[in-house]
């Protein structure tokens, strides 16, 4: 008897499904219960044409090409709420959402705002399209002067990866200056890369530009290898996530800490220096990539508790259930697109929660947040007196 192999060209759904298996724990996509928790917890799930649960159903039904014809996947802010709540622990954010964005991007289905942020990152190493030469301009006037490794050529204990927004954004530069003040007060021997630093690339990766992420990571990796330091710290949870979890895959591996971890480690030395009282009710917003993704919940709160006068209250969404500020996964560069779809901003929801809990200060630990929440306060009548401060800014203030 002659048997004939039936030739079969795999459909897009099949190829895509197979590609998900390559993601860590990707085989778990087969274990989806279709419980719908992911779609329900997703802050924008209610307006997606295909929220995550339906996307998985679409894959199984061999109809994923329908998902590819829509653009509401760009509402995903990569906040990990879906992956965190999933009873089958399916890597929904890292696998499904990010891979879908990659395919949309390759097919040219990219909102124009996001396109320019990606082009800027390619060309200038930062999404804002600022001059790389001006990356350390924020350090002007700081005493003692901030060490720039390429210029000052000396080994340091701590390499501070400053990141895009603290380097360039006029509001977030205050956070960078505050961290410099705190590090100087602690007598830390630290330095920055200045013009040689490139965007960490993590948000570009989560917005579907894997190749760009790799390019930026390789550039940073080459620069890291030029200098002598013991560990890296960063105030940016996205940079922290990249350096801790993604760069090692590309053989770029250094000990890394978020600045709140680093400062919490120095709490005994820091506490006596915090003499200036800040009489305020403070609520802390857990950044997605510090809290939910990397499990750092206690250190930021420990630092706030060390400030005399501070009373901490928790918002209804806190710790691992924290609500995204809306800036992740490319959301920072999709403001107009997401506004058109939702006529709401996640940052505004969050500000309402802070007001409801009676806070005067909304404390944050991610550079996306001060401008996002301050804009949200302007849009929200009842939030008049609420002030947004990075934890590091509060510490710098308490130093007097």
């Amino acid at each position: 008897m002659v048997t004939t192999a039936i030739s079969h060209t795999p459909s897009f759904s099949e190829t895509f499904f197979t590609s998900l298996y390559k993601v860590e724990n990707g085989e778990r996509f087969r274990t989806c219960l279709q419980c719908g928790s992911c779609s329900g917890v997703c802050p924008f799930g209610y307006l997606m044409d295909y929220p995550p649960g339906m996307m998985i159903a679409g894959l199984r039904a061999d109809e994923f090409d329908l998902v590819m014809k829509t653009d509401t996947v760009w509402m995903c802010v990569s906040c990990y709420a879906c992956a965190q709540i999933c009873p089958s622990k399916i890597p929904i954010t890292a696998g499904l959402m990010t891979r879908t964005k990659e395919e949309l991007l390759l097919a040219g289905n990219v909102p124009s705002e996001l396109q320019s942020a990606l082009e800027n990152s390619q060309r200038y190493g930062n999404p804002m399209g600022e001059s790389p030469r001006k990356r350390a301009d924020w350090t002007t006037g700081i005493q003692p002067p901030v060490t720039i490794l390429g210029r000052d050529r000396r080994p340091v204990d701590v390499l501070w990866f400053v990141g895009d927004y603290p380097s360039y954004h006029p509001r977030v530069q205050y956070v960078a200056k505050a961290l410099a003040k705190v590090l100087n007060a602690l007598g830390i021997n630290f330095g920055i890369l200045g013009p040689e630093e490139n965007s960490d690339g993590d948000t570009q990766r989560l917005a579907g530009e894997r190749g760009l992420f790799e390019m930026l990571a390789e550039k940073n990796g080459r620069i890291f290898s030029k200098y002598q330091f013991e560990r890296i710290i960063t105030s940016d949870p996205h940079a922290y996530n990249a350096l801790k979890n993604e760069y090692p895959v590309l053989s770029i591996s250094y000990p890394v800490q978020h600045s709140t971890q680093f400062l919490a480690e120095h709490i005994d030395q820091l506490r006596p220096l915090l003499k200036q009282e800040i009489p305020a009710t403070v609520t802390y917003h857990d950044p997605c990539y510090l809290g939910r993704v990397n499990g750092i919940f206690d250190e930021p709160r420990m630092l706030l508790e060390a400030i005399p006068g501070v009373k901490i209250v928790e918002m209804s969404h806190n710790h691992s259930s924290s609500l995204c500020c809306g800036g992740g996964g490319g959301g920072m560069w999709l403001d107009g697109f997401q506004w058109e779809k939702a006529h709401a901003r996640l940052s505004e929801w969050r500000v309402h929660e802070a007001v409801d809990v009676g806070a005067n200060i909304l404390a944050v630990a991610c550079p996306y947040e001060p401008p996002r929440f301050e804009d949200a306060i302007k849009m929200s009548q009842q939030a008049g007196q609420l002030v947004v401060k990075d934890i590091v800014e509060l510490l710098a203030e308490a130093l007097g």
Binding site: E119, Y124, S131, G211
Partner: protein, 254 residues
């Protein structure tokens, strides 16, 4: 259909520009180059035409730092053939010299349609398009924001001041100065550009000696200079009148 797209790199204005020691040119030491925005649209328009008609698209540019990235990115968008032109661009890179040298070379490529950016911010001696078309004896239409090909003709949309659009027919071969492509230039994923770097090759062609005859000579290039500030007169009419009388007296006109 053979579409040729000559493009150029121009100084990127994200960096502050400085003048070199001669005082007649930009200091190139810190210059970062970027594709001329209008040329970027010309490439996009060529690719859109390729997608509609199956035309072959050749992108060519001067061989200076950054040209490879420019050409590979064009390939990732769909360009079929990449050419870089060798020449002494340090001493002669004005449009008079370039047009003269490029015309012969473009002629050899047997173009049906040439698309180029309508202008560039560093065109000190007029845009290059009309000059090339003159040497090639082809019709030129500039400020184009839409192109449709039918047989040996193209129908173009030309922008006029005040938001007016003219539609006109141009016989081929022709050269069009592109103001805007029908769609904004598309995004090219880095992975696609990297793939092109592995699979595509860039041809090199030598330009004949660059002859700047006819181009203006730059006597002095300088940063905007602050002139004397204006003096604000009082808002009170009486005082203002007195101030004016004094000023006129000082100037000797009263």
């Amino acid at each position: 259909m053979n579409i040729i797209v000559p493009v150029k790199l121009v100084p990127d204005l994200v960096e502050e520009l400085s003048i070199d020691a001669s005082g007649t040119a930009l200091d190139t030491a810190w210059l970062r180059m970027i594709i001329n925005e209008f040329d970027d649209h010309a490439i996009e328009q060529a690719i859109l035409l390729k997608e509609k008609t199956g035309a072959q698209v050749t992108v060519l540019s001067m061989n200076i730092e950054g040209v490879d990235d420019l050409l590979f990115a064009a390939a990732a968008r769909g360009a079929d053939r990449l050419i870089k032109l060798n020449g002494d661009f340090v001493n002669a890179s004005n449009n008079h010299a370039l047009a003269r040298a490029m015309a012969t070379l473009i002629q050899d490529l047997k173009p049906d349609l040439i698309l180029t950016g309508v202008q560039a911010h560093n065109d000190l001696d007029g845009s290059i398009g009309p000059r090339i078309s003159n040497y090639l004896g082809m019709p030129y239409v500039g400020y184009i924001s839409g192109v449709n090909i039918s047989d040996d003709k193209v129908i173009v949309r030309k922008e006029y001041p005040g938001g007016l659009i003219g539609e006109m027919q141009v016989s081929l071969p022709a050269l069009l100065g592109i103001q805007a492509a029908e769609q904004p230039p598309r995004y090219v994923a880095i992975s696609k550009v990297r793939q092109m770097m592995k699979t595509m090759s860039i041809e090199e062609l030598d330009l004949a000696t660059l002859d700047s005859m006819g181009a203006p000579v730059v006597n002095r290039m300088f940063q905007p200079e602050t002139t004397e500030r204006a003096t604000m007169l009082s808002e009170n009419a009486e005082d203002a009148a007195n101030q004016l009388v004094n000023i006129f007296k000082e100037l000797g006109v009263l």
